[in-house]
Subunit: 434 residues, 2 copies
Amino acid sequence: MPEKTLVQADYILTWNENFEIISPGEIVIEDSIITYLGARQERPMENFTRIIVGEDSLVMPGLVNTHTHAAMTLFRGYADDMPLMEWLEKKIWPVEARLRKEDIYWGTLLAVCEMIKGGTTCFADMYFHMDEVARACQESGIRASLAQGLIGVDKIKGMAGLRESKSLVHNWHKKGDGRITIMLGPHAPYTCPPAYLQMVMEMAEQLSVPIHIHLAETRGEVAECLKVYGQTPVSLVNDLGLLEYNVLAAHCVHLTPGEIDLLAEKKVAVAHNPGSNLKLGSGVAPVIELLKKNALVALGTDGAASNNNLDMVEEMRLSALLQKGLSEDATAIPAHMALKMATLNGSEALFPDEEVGTLRKGSKADLIIMQLKNPHLFPLHNLLAQIVYSAGAADVDLVMVNGRVLMEKRRLLTIDEERVLFEGQKRALRLVKD
Amino acid sequence: MPEKTLVQADYILTWNENFEIISPGEIVIEDSIITYLGARQERPMENFTRIIVGEDSLVMPGLVNTHTHAAMTLFRGYADDMPLMEWLEKKIWPVEARLRKEDIYWGTLLAVCEMIKGGTTCFADMYFHMDEVARACQESGIRASLAQGLIGVDKIKGMAGLRESKSLVHNWHKKGDGRITIMLGPHAPYTCPPAYLQMVMEMAEQLSVPIHIHLAETRGEVAECLKVYGQTPVSLVNDLGLLEYNVLAAHCVHLTPGEIDLLAEKKVAVAHNPGSNLKLGSGVAPVIELLKKNALVALGTDGAASNNNLDMVEEMRLSALLQKGLSEDATAIPAHMALKMATLNGSEALFPDEEVGTLRKGSKADLIIMQLKNPHLFPLHNLLAQIVYSAGAADVDLVMVNGRVLMEKRRLLTIDEERVLFEGQKRALRLVKD
């Protein structure tokens, strides 16, 4: 007999070309799929293996974090308030060189604990020892699209990275009931020369997997690319033909109007990371302009070493506030658009072939329950405004991915949180020891 | 016998020209005053009326919210994603006109619930029916500096406001064991003509109270002031002599370099409200430049109708991230500076004559305990970075003001939270009903 779950709540956020609210409502989930979503009905309760009654609560799609380096949680707060290159060269790269496989496993689990507790049901990761990351995702039950970070400037390491990526695809692509997929992860044009990107594209073609890349993050990166190649990063990868593939491009902060058109036209998924871009002093991506051109813009946290948390509620709010403030237009990025970027757009970026990111009949059950009975969410005039402009990560009460409950009443059900905190602290201290 | 409290914690954030961490440490509080702060000592425990042991936790100064309109929580989420003047004229002013005294009382208590739960121990308010606000502060135990919002364009209302302010000073200034003080609150130069501001200054002189005013919030306000008076708002109030008084100036977004010098020189306390300024599309205050000139910059949330929460942890983080991102300088506003703006600078702005805002021997015991055992705060490399860049309002576990515990294990001890939520919702719905 399949698992059959009933979820009842005061409010359910569904999608029908726009967000719609059903109040009160209920959802029936059979195995991983939503088979009913709508008004409450008379039902024989004995048919359900699990009944979840959310009091004073809202059921909404899980948040999707489209760009992070999960295991970098181990370096959270290790180096702050420093210029980007000094931060990388003097602090981050030396400690990353010490990372062992097991560190990546525990660091990823620490990130997954935080993400689940903040309502994130799906994420895109780029790092290394990705077998360990996949194992952490497999065990914890979260949905993820994983990419081995590829550096092409060293030829031997570059080739090894490609081989590892290939084996990653063979071992993990579409595994874990389809929760885990693999992308190829050429780090950036400034670390992957054109000939190497060509090899990445060939492999993407052969294996039918998308490409996850950093693009136009800093003003310095654009200037350097112009100096070396006489082209901006976006123009360079476009001329190489890379944008013909399914591409997830992180950051895209420094773009010309022509490049904005190009990213929209080539249907590149843009992972906008407002918190990290601010904190590292990189700038602010032209999100209003990208959306005007119908580009697919989703949200990400980047790694916890440059954010310093993996809080998608915060990124969602920041994505709206920042654009309003800088354009001096309070109507820019209204609440529903920020929410769409944090949910539906993220799913389209990472799992375009699956029905995730929206709650409706036939969707995968990736959902969260937000607890609304809290002074900062009172009174309730407008549910979408409340989620985007007032809520916090700690308001997330229950998290379900693919029909499986991963957190209930803020208690993690698939991860030994105590052990993860202990291992995270122990390994972090070893890594930064002089 | 006086109340004598012992607080023990893994970390205590004290101040000695800079933030310093004592680990582990303890604090002794007699009535409202810290009489010991330092390493743990052998003590006869029976001498204490209360012992608080914070496990995996940090004791730090309470956060100070230097600009809000507390009762506007009733309009949280009522009108968003709208231009400022349309928001005010079509939505906020019509519903504000319906506010009764009791609404202000319950709306303020709702705000106080939220502020305490987010670690705010002290705030500055500008609104009306301020007797009700004072009563809410008196009962709840929070520290506050309150100002009746004065509008001088209507002469009769303007004079009535001055009379009410005078009686407010008589009834409430330095009441509640000194927790409650009164300021005069001329709303802004565009609502208070020069002759009226002159009367406010005379009253400030007579009553020896400071002035709380909105200044240079929007580009439109500056343009209008130039049109009407041939001067910017800051220049206008300076020529009137207003900056010779103790002034708390909210926003200060649109300033010339000369005005930045002036605000620093005149020791004006600037209440920087990054969230509200972004959300209303007003812009971003030149905080880096103000701090370079040694201006006193503190932080505020503004009202919950334009934020939409009263979360000072969020404002603190935003104050650092925003300036880093816009200046493209990751070293701008380091963690300790953001924390200082949110604590010590706020206290200097609101209670310059009291030892609040820092924890050390002789200070008033306005403190909070942050719970550190949570994935988003692991591992612990740097305590200040963790508080400013990673923590959330929900990490606040205990709040003490003037030696009295207002929240313990996230349960409010001086306010009937259930009743406040009920009254807040009921009154809010009545106010917005067509």
